[in-house]
């Protein structure tokens, strides 16, 4: 009886040890490569052209919104933060991040809305609205060329684990997980298209298919629908967790917002 109990305790200890070491230093399954590497030459040229890149329209709009007064006090983002090129230089590299005030991991879009509602006392922007996409693109643009650097330890660990579970969970009528395509078959072809790794270092992206800008969550929802699974609503915690895992999975990939994707 005693030995069984002791064994159980030892087993539990071992499990905790394994779980502990995993959370501390997870191993990336593959060498990360930006989806830019899988693009056609025409789209690469478009992304590299800072004038013709249609995503820059949203970046411009975001720049206007940065200094546009909102709320009863007539304050703008700029009133507190000053020049975005200085104060927001590396902010986009850190999100999604743990928010002590919210008690959960939030992404950049949600942080923008938190600022709008909490500080400016203005109405929150709808997820996927032109304004929210524009400001997210503008802030991410400030971090262009910097490596993604999200924290997955501490309180964000649970969120990270949920994101990882989501990534490897088979779903939908086609019974595919994210990993089935983007990890096991990255670089192979699906019809005429090359399957990319599904890295999100260029988001929000201008997508040819949508003919407009889209957030990470719109992309997740699109991918979920493509395997005939029920998509989650944009801004849901499931997608934020997945976003955190995806950002980490990209390792130190450089931010290339606004990216152009097919």
């Amino acid at each position: 009886m005693k030995s069984v109990g002791a064994r159980a305790v030892a087993g539990l200890g071992l499990c905790l040890l394994i779980a502990g070491s995993r959370a501390a230093e997870p191993v990336r399954p593959q060498q990360a490569q930006s989806d830019y590497a899988y693009l056609s030459p025409a789209l690469r040229t478009l992304q590299d052209d800072d004038f013709a890149n249609p995503g820059m329209l949203w970046v411009d709009r975001g720049q206007q919104l940065w200094s546009e007064a909102a709320g009863p006090a007539g304050q703008s983002c700029q009133s507190c933060h000053g020049a975005a090129s200085v104060s927001m230089r590396a902010v986009a590299t850190r999100y999604p991040a743990w928010s002590p005030a919210m008690g959960r991991v939030i992404n950049l879009e949600q942080q923008i809305n938190r600022c709008r509602v909490g500080r400016l006392k203005a109405a929150a922007w709808d997820y996927e609205s032109e304004e929210l996409l524009a400001l997210t693109a503008y802030l991410s643009r400030q971090a262009r060329g910097l490596p993604v650097d999200v924290r997955i330890d501490g309180p964000a660990g649970l969120s990270f684990e949920r994101g990882r579970a989501f990534f490897y969970q088979r779903r939908g009528q086609l019974n595919l997980s994210c990993a089935s395509c983007h990890e096991q078959h990255a670089g192979s072809h699906l019809g005429a298209e090359t399957i990319p790794q599904g890295q999100i270092n260029g988001f929000p992206v201008y997508r040819e298919l949508w003919q407009t800008m889209g957030s990470t969550h719109r992309m997740f929802a699109w991918c979920n629908e493509a395997v005939r699974a029920e998509p989650y609503p944009p801004g849901s915690q499931d997608y934020v967790d997945l976003e955190l895992f995806e950002r980490w999975r990209g390792g130190g990939l450089l931010i290339e917002t606004p990216a152009v994707r097919r």
Partner: protein, 106 residues
């Protein structure tokens, strides 16, 4: 007024051919798309794009529903003398978007 981007060189020599670029944020709905409820999204396009240099029209384009969103134009004009380069986009409902820059000719 939709967001637009233009690129006109700041300076040019008389007789030079300079590249002009213009981009505007517009959905260019072609009338064949459906929303999530299955309702047809009506046609919503820009119908005219005009560029004028130093008071004279140098380019006029009539746009049709087959064009993709956020239409982008790139063309050349011959610099003659210092003057404004004006861009005008006309929406199908008559909304006009303008943007302008000055070309310095030396």
């Amino acid at each position: 007024m939709p967001n637009s981007r233009i690129k006109v060189p700041e300076q040019a020599k008389a007789g030079d051919k300079v590249e002009i670029r213009a981009l505007i944020m517009h959905p260019m709905e072609n009338g064949f798309n459906f929303d999530s409820q299955g309702t047809t999204i009506p046609v919503h396009i820009i119908t005219d794009f005009v560029c004028a240099y130093d008071g004279a029209e140098v380019l006029r384009v009539q746009l049709q529903p087959g064009l993709s969103a956020n239409p982008y134009f790139s063309f050349y004009l011959t610099a003659t003398r210092t003057g404004p380069v004006n861009f005008t986009w006309t929406d199908q409902d008559g909304t006009i978007t303008t943007n302008s820059a000055t070309l310095q000719v030396t």
